[in-house]
């Protein structure tokens, strides 16, 4: 009986082995370049790449789409040699961690390819002097205003506050200006800088001065003047971004800062609005906002898959080319990063609007500083706490600004070696 049982075991083992061999996954074909992207970019990249199949001769390109940007980041963090992509389309803040952890591979672009972009865009994708990707699209925020509440573009920050106070009771306004896109740190940087707290301090040659921060006294006093009544918030600028979009769409907030990725949604809701940077304290000045880029980045997996040169060619022939970006942004609707694509007649008014807002007041994000916590804290993580401390907890606007400024000084001073 035992022999019979073991006979059965043998049969089953053989059968199981046969089945598993039949359905075993085949290794990545060496002629396939795998690109990972999020739920928005992925389907559009797949369509554009499939429509013109010869971006890199001899290769096929497979685009893998993830359900969200966070899911993509999570998958990339966990990617292994076998499962990882050859190219990943992601945020510039992935560069320092991806490079440190050995998941991103450096690339060197020829002068001709570099000339297709604004050179500051490469700063976003650089870590310790090496470039890790090519710029694909511009991510920036801009201010929109509800033309049913305010008919003309405000010239100064004070004008917005005056408009809010004048309309507050009659229109039932819940706030004057709020942040709908980019959060209370990145999104609110245009408000920070409009009131005098520009993170980056530039020298006369346009270079960034490290270890120096904004004037906390000037900024703090402006916060007191424009955003507070004594020790309390005057209600113009909420300390959080919760509910901003809903209230703007409901007509109870006249001004909102939104990201270019949200524009289509506002348009789809039939909203009437105009687009501009946040006006500064003085007429003709504007708050600086991020004109950062997302990048198509080469991974170290490409080399392991035997497609590194093919992947590099895809980066230059498709992602960094006018033709590639025009075709892609015709579907994706973000402002293209490549100069030729920016000038193309197919670029929409919204893409141009955000593009021109970026050119008026855009600054690079500088990946090396995004996650720097040199000095014990990170500026961008800490910035939202300023609004809470001052507008909600009623702490001194100048003292809290000094703390924020010292964090920035420590971050840039300690992090400049990562550039």
């Amino acid at each position: 009986m035992k022999t019979k049982r073991f006979g059965f075991a043998g049969v089953i083992a053989a059968f199981a082995l046969a089945v598993s061999t039949l359905v075993a996954p085949s290794a990545n074909a060496a002629t396939e370049i795998v690109v990972w992207a999020d739920e928005s970019r992925g389907p559009n990249l797949a369509k554009v790449i499939a429509a013109k199949g010869d971006w890199v001769s001899g290769y096929t390109v497979k685009v893998v789409t993830f359900s969200s940007f966070d899911a993509l980041k999570d998958a990339f963090d966990k990617a292994t040699d076998a499962s990882g992509p050859d190219i990943v389309v992601g945020g510039n803040d992935w560069v320092p961690t991806g490079a440190k952890s050995g998941k991103l591979a450096p690339i060197t672009l020829t002068a001709a390819v570099k000339a297709r972009f604004n050179q500051t865009q490469f700063v976003d994708l650089t870590y310790k002097g090496k470039l890790y990707g090519v710029p694909v699209d511009i991510n920036n925020v801009a201010m929109i205003y509800n033309t049913k509440l305010v008919s003309t573009a405000p010239k100064t920050f004070g004008e917005m506050v005056s408009n809010y106070k004048a309309l507050k009771a009659s229109k039932g306004l819940k706030a004057g200006l709020c942040i709908a896109g980019g959060g209370m740190s990145w999104g609110a940087h245009s408000v920070f800088s409009a009131l005098g707290a520009d993170a980056y301090q530039f020298n006369s040659r346009g270079g960034i001065v490290y270890g120096r921060a904004f004037n906390a006294t000037t900024f703090g006093k402006n916060v007191r003047t424009y955003l507070m009544d004594g020790k309390k918030s005057n209600g113009f600028f909420p300390a959080t971004d919760t509910g901003c979009k809903d209230n703007f769409l409901a007509g109870t907030v006249p001004y909102a800062v939104i990201g270019n990725w949200e524009w289509a949604d506002y348009v789809a809701k039939g909203f009437t609005m105009n687009l501009m940077p946040v006006p500064g304290v003085a007429d003709g000045t504007y708050g600086k906002m991020f004109g950062s880029v997302s990048g198509a980045m080469l991974t170290t997996f490409a080399s392991k898959h035997g497609v590194e040169s093919g992947a590099k060619s895809l980066l230059t022939n498709f992602f960094a080319s006018t033709d590639g970006q025009v075709r892609y942004q015709a579907l994706e609707k973000r402002p293209p990063a490549e100069k030729g694509a920016q000038a193309d007649s197919t670029v929409s008014a919204a893409q141009r609007g955000f593009g021109s807002a970026a050119s008026l007041a855009g600054i690079p994000q500088i990946g090396a500083f995004l996650n720097s916590n040199k000095g014990g804290a990170n500026y961008w993580d800490s910035a939202p706490a300023y609004w809470t401390a001052v507008l909600i907890d009623g702490k001194d606007a100048v003292k809290e600004a000094s703390k924020l400024a010292s964090i920035w000084r420590a971050n840039t001073d300690g992090g400049k070696g990562d550039l």
Binding site: A9, A16, G58, S101, P238, E308, N371, I392
Partner: protein, 512 residues
């Protein structure tokens, strides 16, 4: 029916079923092996063997019932615990993720730098006298040459054929690759060094461009060091997962690798004040939060169960309504509550006519957390209390009433002690669950408020698990080794508290 699945039919079904399970496991083992996950692959192979032995022989009848549970327990409980214990002894964080072998390969690649001139060439791939070669063109200087991995052959323009951009595409003795050959040539050409001059070589950047480059870092395998070929600097293994400059320990090469640092992550919890101080505060709040949650949810659930234990009109409707918070996905409920507690636009401040900064003030934030958890948790205790009340013999209450006990005495002396005896394991389980109630904290307050401007790491509502998450994943630098060490401490704490409570409640004796 029972007869039908006996004998040969039953054996046939068993064979099919076991075959399918074994096939799937073998497939997974093979896949894990292909991905170099050897431990997982070995475990799956052993599982296949054990399953086959258990179900296809008469080696042990009890094992037929236990083996699935044993395998799943090993895979999803023991495995992660062992992995966490192991990782807590490693320098495992952003920058120290991969293996040393991989790190060496990548440092070598990053040790290639383009020449100071920044010169690049348009290239055409092919072969020259049977060897891999590139046909290089500099259209600005009209410089053309063929380069192999050992030689450089200058060319004159008159001997070449050009494309519409002025790039040479054909040359004597040079056989260009066809489109279909590109992919197969990728490995051959990638990483190859085509001759430029004595100091520099040309490295491929795709199939169309070559960059004049130099090797700056050289690996010395005999001494396990890297040497900077430009300034002579020597980088040695610092024992912590990085090559560091001999003269400056802070100057390290990236990427690093996972390296054993034994008990350093544990000692960091005690010695690093930035980790230790928040940890003590967070631990105290975690205990208070878990206790308050259990007490409030149990109290409210029991109160409602007692109220609805009596026959009142519309009892079924009330019961259905009370279960609704439990039926709704907690993620949705938490997010909705988060919106309702919003200071400026939230429904709670609007209804109360207040302007309370719920999530900005530490005390209000803690109250909000307890209130939301009360909403989420009371239906559970209502349900189990209702069931338990039914299980208490009514004769006991009737006898007490006859002896002259009032309802309050009956509840205090009979109902509650009996209920506690029945519900003790569930109360302890609820405490352990809330000790690690990550979802609530993460979604409702994010652990805040915390004063980032003063350098605080942990927020006022952070519990141990959310604090650990912040260390592991919350910022640009992820410290998985330290997070593993803290996780292990949490595990020991929860296990100790639960075991102590179980012993005190004498619940285990009922299973003896």
């Amino acid at each position: 029916m029972t007869y039908l699945i006996r004998g040969k039919i039953a054996l046939f079904i068993k064979v099919i079923f076991v075959t399918l399970i074994v096939s799937v496991l073998l497939l997974l083992a093979q896949s894990a092996f292909a991905q170099k996950e050897y431990v997982i692959s070995a475990f799956l192979a052993i599982a296949v063997l054990l399953l086959a032995l258990t179900y296809l022989t008469k080696i042990s009848i009890p094992l037929k019932f236990f083996i699935p549970g044993i395998l799943l327990l090993t895979a999803f409980v023991l495995g992660p615990i062992l992995y966490t214990v192991t990782m807590s002894g490693f320098n495992y964080k952003t920058g120290n993720i991969i293996s040393k072998e991989e790190a060496i390969v990548q440092i070598k690649v990053r040790g290639i730098e383009s020449a100071p001139s920044g010169q690049t060439f348009d290239i055409k791939l092919g072969t020259y006298e049977g060897n891999p070669a590139i046909l290089a063109s500099d259209i600005n200087t009209s410089e053309y040459f063929i380069s192999t991995q050992g030689d450089r052959i200058p060319l004159v323009a008159s001997a070449l054929t050009f494309n519409e951009y002025g790039v040479a595409v054909e040359a004597p003795n040079f056989t260009p690759l066809t489109d279909s050959e590109f992919a197969t040539a990728d490995k051959l050409f990638t990483g190859a060094r085509f001759t430029f001059d004595d100091r520099f070589f040309i490295a491929l950047e795709g199939f169309e461009a070559g960059v004049v480059s130099q090797q700056v870092l050289e690996y010395l395998p005999e001494s396990d060091q890297f040497k900077n070929l430009v300034n002579g600097g020597i980088y040695t293994d610092n024992g912590r997962g990085n090559y560091a400059l001999t003269d400056d320990k802070n100057a390290i090469l990236e990427p690093g690798w996972r390296a054993p640092i034994w008990f350093e992550n544990y000692s960091k919890i005690v010695t690093d004040s930035r980790v230790r101080e928040p940890l003590v505060r967070v631990f105290l709040w975690t205990v208070v939060f878990a206790l308050l949650t259990v007490l409030t949810t149990f109290a409210l659930g029991l109160l409602l169960a007692l109220a609805l234990n009596k026959p009142i009109r519309g009892r079924r409707i009330y019961r259905s309504i009370l279960v609704l918070p439990y039926a709704m996905p907690s993620v949705m409920s938490i997010l909705i509550w988060g919106g309702m507690f919003n200071t400026e636009f939230g429904a709670i401040n609007t209804l109360l006519g207040t302007n309370i900064a719920w999530f900005s003030d530490p005390n209000f934030a803690r109250v909000a957390v307890i209130l939301v958890n009360l909403w989420l948790g009371f239906p559970y205790f209502y349900l189990i209390s209702s069931g338990s009340l039914q299980a208490i013999p009514s004769e006991l209450m009737e006898a007490a009433a006859i002896d002259g006990a009032n309802p309050r005495q009956i509840f205090r002396k009979i109902t509650l002690p009996l209920l506690l005896q029945i519900l003790s394991p569930l109360l302890i389980a609820s405490f352990a669950y809330n000790f690690n109630n990550f979802n609530l904290i993460y979604l409702l307050t994010g652990g805040g408020p915390r004063n980032e401007l003063d350098g605080e790491i942990a927020g006022a509502t952070d519990i141990l698990i959310s604090y650990t998450y912040k260390i592991a994943f919350g910022s640009g630098t992820q410290d998985l080794g330290l997070a593993s060490a803290i996780s292990l401490i949490i595990f020991i704490l929860v296990a100790s508290i639960s075991l102590y409570s179980l012993r005190k409640s004498k619940v285990l004796e009922t299973f003896a």
